[in-house]
């Protein structure tokens, strides 16, 4: 029993160490984001004489934070709406249809997941250019729909199997059309997996950097990450007070999202991986 307690303490010790490691960079950034550049030079660990909340006001303006936030929200909304709508319908139909064609189509979607983004990004860039979707927020949202449906279809496809086929039959007997069957009966039943799909894709789109960098050229179209990157380039890594406060600002939305949606995010990740 005594040995048991010692192992417990050792485990606790290591967990605390790792937790400190996990939090430390953010904490030190937060601390120093409230200092002047002079104070940062004088001692990283020192407390600021007086918290410089002004840094945040400056960061808000310099990064065009509000606009960038709106852009990011807009892109994510278009992307998520499209992904959920199309892959719920496709996953349902592909799962219910037992035919060679259906299997081939499903296989194609799965195969597309194996392609690394960088191996088709040049062609994608060309297509986006040719379709005049460059610098277009909705256009970028559509691209996310295209890239996101594969995994969402996989998740929906698996989930639909747990919905009894008798339900479809009963609806048909009652004279219910296919679309009504899907939207009034099936889609509400898909809610748990829709939550997973939304969570996983929201995290992906929100934190994606390279695709927006390729597609969005004008700074008034920038996402949060793009404006952070631009700011970092401008200051040449010297104005840390400005940089750190904008970084903390950029982190705020996801941290808030995590606090609110923690359960469904963690469930989404484990379901997405273990059931996929």
């Amino acid at each position: 029993m005594r040995a048991h307690r010692i192992t417990d303490d050792v485990i606790l010790f290591f967990l605390v160490i790792f937790s400190v490691f996990a939090v430390f960079p953010v904490a030190i950034a937060l601390l120093n984001s409230l200092k002047t550049n002079g104070e940062i030079l004088n001692g990283i660990m020192n407390l600021p004489a007086r918290p410089m909340w002004r840094n945040y006001g400056d960061a808000f303006i310099k990064t065009g934070f509000f606009g960038a936030l709106l852009n990011t929200v807009f892109i994510a909304s278009v992307g998520l709406a499209g992904i959920v709508l199309f892959s719920a319908m496709a996953g349902y139909k592909l799962s219910r249809t037992r035919s060679r064609l259906s299997d081939i189509l499903f296989g194609l979607f799965i195969f597309s997941m194996l392609l690394p983004f960088h191996s088709y990004m040049i062609s994608l860039f060309k297509v986006v250019n040719d379709m005049n979707l460059k610098n277009n927020l909705a256009g970028l949202g559509f691209v996310y729909v295209g890239l996101g449906v594969a995994m969402a279809i996989l998740l929906y496809h698996g989930f639909v199997k747990s919905i009894p086929y008798e339900l479809d039959e009963a609806a048909w007997v009652e004279g219910c059309g296919d679309f009504r069957l899907f939207f009034s009966i099936i889609f509400p039943l898909l809610k748990p997996i829709t939550a997973t799909v939304v969570t996983l894709n929201l995290l992906w789109i929100w934190n994606d950097f390279l695709l927006p960098m390729l597609v969005l050229g004008d700074s008034d179209k920038y996402t949060i990450l793009l404006s952070i990157n631009m700011l970092f380039g401008q200051y040449n890594n010297n104005d840390w007070a400005a940089i750190l406060s904008s970084l903390i600002l950029a982190m705020l939305p996801v941290i808030m999202l995590f606090v609110v949606l923690q359960k469904s995010i963690i469930k989404g990740i484990s379901d997405g991986a273990l059931k996929g």
């Binding site: 485990i11 030190i28 194996l114 392609l115 690394p116 040049i122 860039f125 950097f209 963690i266 991986a273």
Partner: protein, 257 residues
């Protein structure tokens, strides 16, 4: 397979010349393959081992497991671009200052980002910091799926904790290990954001992964789209081959519970 670039509207067919150039006459590209492979090996081993250890430790806590899970997962929410910039601050300002402050820590006072080998480990550190939480969550879910009865049965048969883990738990969570390794393989071959933010591929091109090499070829330096596509296709072939081998090897080792 063309000499397609941004200026030339009518690309000419050049056959396999691009492939030949990429594989024999492009030291930066060869170097980026080597860097990527080294990175992938380190990440697959370290990230999965660390995530599994953390998952086991978190699961062994009866009351505080949710709190530790939350804290350890938190970095995963942060974009690797933001994380890269924050760690840049840690590497260029915080650690050197600590190193100057105390003779015991003088090891820390060096140019982490400026030197090829230490910047490699800086990239690994940041990637692990951001990535471990995701796998840990998956492994925790897998561990919770292992029935307590089986573990109790093993204990009654006289197995210690280590033995129980090796003989009961590990085989039962093998499917999730397959997924975990698959995810890290797939993800780390594509590494871009963290390197872009932290070192930009530098010093020189010492820490340039394939994805960044392709990006620079296509959009920054030469605008040779055709040639960059060839490199991208080589990346795809490598990833495809390795993941297929990984899945078939690891699937064989899974058992039915």
């Amino acid at each position: 397979m063309t000499d397609w670039n941004v200026l030339d509207p009518a690309p000419a067919f050049v056959g396999l010349a691009n492939y030949q150039e990429a594989l024999t006459d492009d030291p930066a590209f060869i170097k980026s393959i080597a860097f990527t492979l080294k990175y992938v090996v380190c990440m697959v081993v370290l990230q999965n081992a660390l995530a599994l250890i953390l998952a086991l430790m978190v699961e062994s806590r009866k009351k505080s497991n949710a709190a530790f899970r939350t804290i350890l997962f938190l970095p995963n929410m942060i974009s690797m671009i933001v994380a890269g910039f924050i760690w840049m601050f840690v590497f260029t300002r915080v650690l050197p200052e600590w190193g100057r402050g105390s003779p015991f820590l003088s090891l820390l006072d060096r140019s982490w980002i400026g030197d090829a080998s230490s910047s490699f480990w800086a990239i690994i550190t940041v990637s692990l910091w951001g990535g471990v939480g995701y796998l840990m969550v998956i492994y925790i879910a897998a561990l919770q799926g292992v029935s307590q009865q089986l573990k109790d049965a093993a204990r009654i048969d006289g197995a210690g904790s280590l033995m129980t883990f090796r003989a009961v738990t590990l085989p039962l969570i093998m499917p999730s290990l397959t997924i975990g390794v698959f995810l890290t393989l797939n993800g780390s071959f594509k590494v871009f954001d963290v390197v872009f933010a932290l070192t930009g591929g530098g010093p020189g091109r010492a820490t340039q992964p394939i994805a960044l090499n392709v990006y620079e070829e296509a959009f920054r330096m030469s605008n040779r789209y055709g040639y960059a596509s060839v490199k991208a296709f080589i990346l795809f072939i490598i990833v495809l081959a390795i993941t297929l081998v990984q899945i078939s090897v690891m699937k064989k080792r899974e058992i039915q519970a």
